[in-house]
Point group: C2
Chain length 225, copies 2
Amino acid sequence: MTDYYLKNSKFYVAVDCIIFGLNNGELSILLTKRRFEPEKGKWSLMGGFVGENESVDEAAQRVLTDLTGLTNVYMEQLGAFGAIDRDPGERVVSVAYYALINFDELDRRAVEEHDARWIGINEIPQLGFDHPLMISKALKALRERFTTSPIVFNLLPKLFTLSQLQSLCEAILGEEIDKRNFRKRVTDLKCIQPTEFIDKSSSKRGARLHRFSDTTYQLDHKFKI
Amino acid sequence: MTDYYLKNSKFYVAVDCIIFGLNNGELSILLTKRRFEPEKGKWSLMGGFVGENESVDEAAQRVLTDLTGLTNVYMEQLGAFGAIDRDPGERVVSVAYYALINFDELDRRAVEEHDARWIGINEIPQLGFDHPLMISKALKALRERFTTSPIVFNLLPKLFTLSQLQSLCEAILGEEIDKRNFRKRVTDLKCIQPTEFIDKSSSKRGARLHRFSDTTYQLDHKFKI
DNA sequence: TCAAAAGTGTTCAGGGTACACCCATGG
DNA sequence: CCATGGGTGTACCCTGAACACTTTTGA
């Protein structure tokens, strides 16, 4: 029985996280400056190696928590990246994940300790490894998923204005959305609910704060933005 | 630099293939009876270990070619499966792929030599490992993709009748489709073209054979079934 | 009083859905 | 001549897209 395995090779298995967040209203990802070879000094995604006593998913959670201080984060697997020379140092198979985090709950100290920075998705520098490919796949997956699944709310504070929601959707899509059509769609959804609160930080008139009700969403699982 | 890697663990990395084909008009997948421990004697997906001199994608291609004799097959990665105990024998991280093959071009001898059999997607027996999970994810991915991307033609012969196409779509969806609406959609697509040939094997009247034109599809990349 | 963001409805076109009958032919 | 699968058109509804002005209020 052991023979069945022994004739085969073993590999390092890594995880890489594409962490999306709203930094001052701008859709951004969290990048770190690598402190080790290979690719030392280059910007890169946050990653780590899978350990023997954790699943690959758990490794990704661990890396994310280590960097952000957050647990229970929305995270989805993007896929495995297994080109022979994707890591110039050693043969490493990497499994990429993307995560959507609420910027306000972030542990900023943990971020600073890792030399990490939020960088707008339109200002991403040259990255090492196959990270540019991972990021473009993550953006594609995010674009495809967010219109039919209520995941954008992971990026927003619990209370948000419709303008905030719209500009976030526009940032993800990379194009503008008609305001009246957007608000009609959104206010027709039972799972997006107005609250009694008004936010006056972004306009003199003030904008009504809304919230996403997951329990309402669970009733029919209908969502379309 | 080597230190960066050395403190970490290595893993076996495997690939598993969910191979879809149309067996006598029934959407089926190719399963083999395992000849080795662990899970010996159980039905399972065709898989194999990744070698040092091939990418993960190449390993999947190799496994597929070995079993079917086919190259240049439509194949897409489903994702990595990395639970600690997913393989009862050893820690193995597996990357799953699904493939759509043309049943007529299959090398039946290669299939027999691997103790493999086509099994309808509604008659799948108990499988070992996490293969049931992989199959359900593959079906979900196939269902989501085939309506907007012209991939079903990989399952059909080069010339096919609209009835064949419709019953294939129904098998993938798991529900019936209105004949007139389906034919309207399909015949409006420029990339699905009638030919001069008539197939008389399935009816007395005979049905017109159509073909998918990829060059026409490339013109506008529009497709909706 | 004015600048800046919030909020609000209607019209129209096109796509999706529901639906039932005749055709051609081999046996 | 009949059983079997092949082939065809219309009416309605609903969704998605285009489009511009009024309101509120702090400075």
